[in-house]
């Protein structure tokens, strides 16, 4: 299962989503800036626990959390995906 924590306005988040779309990869996206109250708080806590900081995008593939638009890392993680 793949999850992307994203900001709807962030260019790098758009690039990650486009890359996954172009490769017909199923993923769940959380637009953290558009989430409200509790949902936003929970998402922020998850991002912080995954990466130790609050920056976006964060792409979670199985147990691997990739921060930023790093195509090779995402490609690698997709191949190793169980």
């Amino acid at each position: 299962m793949i999850k992307v924590y994203s900001l709807s306005t962030c260019p790098w988040c758009k690039k990650v989503k486009k890359y996954l779309d172009d490769n017909n990869v199923e993923y769940e996206v959380v637009e953290v800036d558009l989430a409200k109250g509790e949902e936003q708080k929970k998402a922020l806590e998850e991002v912080e626990s995954l990466t130790g900081k609050r920056s976006f995008p964060v792409t979670v593939i199985d147990d691997k959390a990739i921060s930023g638009f790093k195509q090779e890392e995402i490609e690698g993680a997709l191949k190793d995906e169980k």
């Binding site: 900001l7 709807s8 306005t9 962030c10 260019p11 790098w12 758009k14 690039k15 953290v32 800036d33 922020l44 609050r54 920056s55 976006f56």
Partner: protein, 124 residues
Amino acid sequence: MKNKIYCEVCLLSFIHKGEVESGQVVVCTICGAELEINSVEPEITAARLTQDPETEIRNRSENFARLRGYTFNEDKELVIEGLLEKNEMFGDFYCPCRIENIPENVCPCLPTRMNEVRKWGHCY
């Protein structure tokens, strides 16, 4: 003749060389924002020049880049798009890559105004 003018975008005063008169448009030398002079006496006051959002943020980023000697990379259009979305949704040009919509994050953000670009090689 040096005039100190307060910029309401980056919340600092900058030095403007030469005479100013009301109605004149000046560029803040710290953040590149375009300001219109409201009054000259007893002291100079200026306010953000009313423009359509896209013109405003394009002019501001181009002024800022020129003032600092920075160039645009291939992500310029995506960043401008993100800034316009932030402005539409949250009312100001907050950094599209940050979640906190606070004054320090109004583009060009505080770290970028403080030359962090030299360290990172690009803005946030």
